[in-house]
């Protein structure tokens, strides 16, 4: 038995081949990176970010907080999120209500099947 070979029922997945391939690609990437860029000059204006001429904000102030991440995603799905968040009331009566509702639905489904 090949212990690294995973049988999925429809095909196979060999972890070791994946690891070896990933290592080879990694080594190639590192080799390319180490060849360097001949025109690169460290600690010059060349290495600073260009923000349309505006001064660079300090690194501490430019860290993007969790609330600002995926704003576009949540904004686009606003109609989905609004009722979903409202559902999560934090009220224990509602928690119990959901249990009763699901029980009733399963009761109907199993009862008529």
């Amino acid at each position: 038995m090949n212990i690294a070979l995973l049988e999925t029922g429809s095909g196979y997945w060999n972890t070791l081949i994946w690891v070896v391939t990933a290592l080879i690609i990694g080594v190639c990437v590192l080799w390319l990176r180490n060849r360097g860029e001949s025109r690169y000059k460290k600690d010059t204006d060349q290495t600073k970010p260009f923000l349309s001429g505006n001064p660079e904000v300090s690194k501490e102030d430019s860290h993007v907080g969790a609330s600002h991440l995926y704003w576009g995603f949540t904004e686009a799905l606003k109609n989905y999120y609004e009722p979903l968040v409202k559902m999560h009331t934090g009220n224990i009566n509602d928690y119990s209500g959901w249990i009763v509702l699901v029980m009733a639905i399963i009761f109907i489904i199993i009862g008529v099947s």
Binding site: T8, W13, Y70, T74, L77
Partner: protein, 522 residues
């Protein structure tokens, strides 16, 4: 020595139970020794569980009859059904037992440093040991009333552990109260269902009930009650709302055990559906109920996780999402249980994916909650908006987080990928849409954990965290063991599937073997 090994199934329960009662006494004399006592006892329990697992996987199911002249004497002379409390340990039961023993042992190691500054440690370790005992009981017992007793002990100890941290605003107490209410409802329903079984069949032994199951109207009601409340205790949508409250407020090591406790409820659901009812029920209907609960859990869980700002609440919603994968895989297996061609073709594989995902989830979700605990210990906040740049000072925690996050997102070569791949490919053959949803959920999972990685670990060193140090060694050891197991399971998945997962799935499917183990006829 032989006598100890003969009674290993009972000792798995007895050792932590005894230690639970010794702990408060010992705590009066020496506060520091209680953490080591709990760790040693749970380590010993892990060794016993591994021994029992080896026996079960090599020689078949073990039966342990409490109070009998011989441990395997299920039917004394003249009896037609067993009346004593019996532990019936098959491959599925011991699979869950292994998860519980490993998670409880690592939680105890992690707690040595994590809980060091807290008061009331005797109570903490007593409750932790009681929780571990009750989970073992739920997983190893063959008696449904005995299951109810352990189910109650698990709920009571969990409530106290969730509310263990005292804060001025009282959130842990509130979370504990909520968990107490939902646990009481579920316990009441389980007891009612047991009453329905006992009233009809005069039996409490699960194998006996299975052998005479008629699937009457009362059995239908019992099934509805059990499926609903056990799915709720597993954290299935839309009955999942207690999960973020409880998981986020409990101490990190306890959250890791709570994940395993939820999976014990999921195991009970599978055990009841497959081992008690099996083909007497409409497998397609109940299979689809599990599938729908699974898909809802996967999708709603992950989408709610993405918008969270509290690191532990975010991870708690992911627990809900991961439970969905297990329900989906096993639900597909149940839906094709009466179709031998489909069962052989993809049903067994789907169940293997779902069951394999249980142990994988316990490992990576446990690891992620422990990293969240490490962050909380050092920053005193769970708010992702207030974090940043922690990778500079917490190198090990960062590496462990990356391993856990990659595993839960299903990135090869970690363990989450292996079980998810089996689920995708087998479920695709049942219904392609379900497999596509499962893959989409994995993408969203990755996006969510990238958010945590960026918010907590990346970026410049923040002024308030400049003096932050890496967490103590016992916490690192617990996280390192989980990380190594995640990598090992990912690199050699066939080893786990062939020797642990496949026997567990076959033990679930083969009801005749389950009943014959107790009633004879093998």
């Amino acid at each position: 020595m032989n006598s100890i090994l003969l009674h290993a199934p009972a000792l798995i329960i007895a050792l932590p139970l005894l230690a639970a009662f010794i702990t408060p006494i010992l705590g009066r004399f020496n506060r520091k020794t209680i953490s080591w006592l709990a760790t040693c006892v749970l380590g010993l329990t892990l060794l016993l569980t591994i021994f029992v697992a080896r026996q079960v996987l090599t020689h078949g199911p073990i039966v342990y009859v409490f109070g009998a002249t011989e441990t395997g004497l299920t039917l004394p002379f003249g009896y037609t059904m067993p009346i004593r409390i019996i532990f019936q340990i098959d491959a599925m039961g011991i699979f869950m037992g292994l998860i519980t023993s490993l998670v409880a042992f690592l939680a105890a190691i992690y707690s040595i440093s994590y809980m060091e500054q807290h008061t009331g440690l005797d109570k903490y370790y007593t409750l932790l040991l009681l929780l571990a005992t009750s989970m073992f009981g739920m997983e190893l017992t063959g008696d449904i009333f005995n299951f109810f007793v352990f189910f109650e002990i698990a709920s009571i100890s969990s409530v106290a552990l969730i509310a263990f941290r005292s804060t001025i605003s009282g959130e842990p107490a509130e979370a504990g109260l909520k968990y107490m209410v939902v646990s009481s409802i579920s316990a009441l329903m389980v007891l009612f269902a047991i009453g329905l079984f006992y009233g009809q069949y005069d039996a409490l032994n699960m194998a006996t009930i299975a052998s005479v199951m008629q699937f009457t109207q009362l059995d239908k009601i019992a099934l509805i009650l059990l499926v609903t409340v056990l799915a709720m205790k597993a954290g299935s949508v839309p009955m999942h709302m207690w999960t973020p409250d409880a998981y986020s407020e409990a101490p990190a090591a306890i959250t890791m055990i709570l994940v395993a406790a939820s999976q014990a409820s999921l195991y009970a659901l599978f055990r009841i559906v497959f081992s008690i009812y099996n083909v007497t029920l409409n497998t397609v209907t109940v299979g689809w109920i599990l599938i729908i609960l699974g898909v809802l859990s996967m999708f709603i869980g992950v989408t709610m996780a993405i918008i969270q700002k509290d690191i532990k609440r975010l991870m708690a919603y992911h627990s809900i999402s991961q439970t969905g994968y297990m329900l989906l895989g096993v639900g597909v297996g149940l839906a094709v249980l009466t179709n031998p061609v489909a069962l052989e073709s993809f049903g067994i594989k789907a169940m293997e994916g779902g069951i394999f995902h249980i142990i994988n989830n316990a490992l990576y979700k446990g690891l992620l909650f422990l990293t969240a605990g490490a962050i909380f210990l050092r920053t005193d906040t769970r708010d992702l908006n207030k974090m940043g740049g922690l990778a500079h000072n917490m190198t090990y925690t960062t590496i462990f987080y990356i391993i856990g996050a990659a595993a839960i997102a299903g990135i090869p070569p970690f363990n989450g990928f292996a079980s998810k791949l089996i689920i995708y490919e087998s479920v695709y053959r049942f219904n392609p849409l379900l497999a596509i949803i499962a893959m989409l959920v994995s993408v969203l999972t990755l996006a969510s954990f990238v958010k945590v990685f960026h918010s907590a670990f990346l970026g410049p060193r923040l002024e308030q965290y400049k003096s932050v140090q890496e967490v103590p060694k016992s916490m690192i050891i617990a996280m390192a063991v989980l990380s190594c197991l995640i990598v090992f399971f990912g690199l050699f998945p066939n080893l786990i599937v062939k020797y642990i997962v496949h026997p567990a799935v076959m033990a679930l499917i083969n009801q005749a073997h389950y009943t014959a183990t107790i009633l004879g006829g093998i």
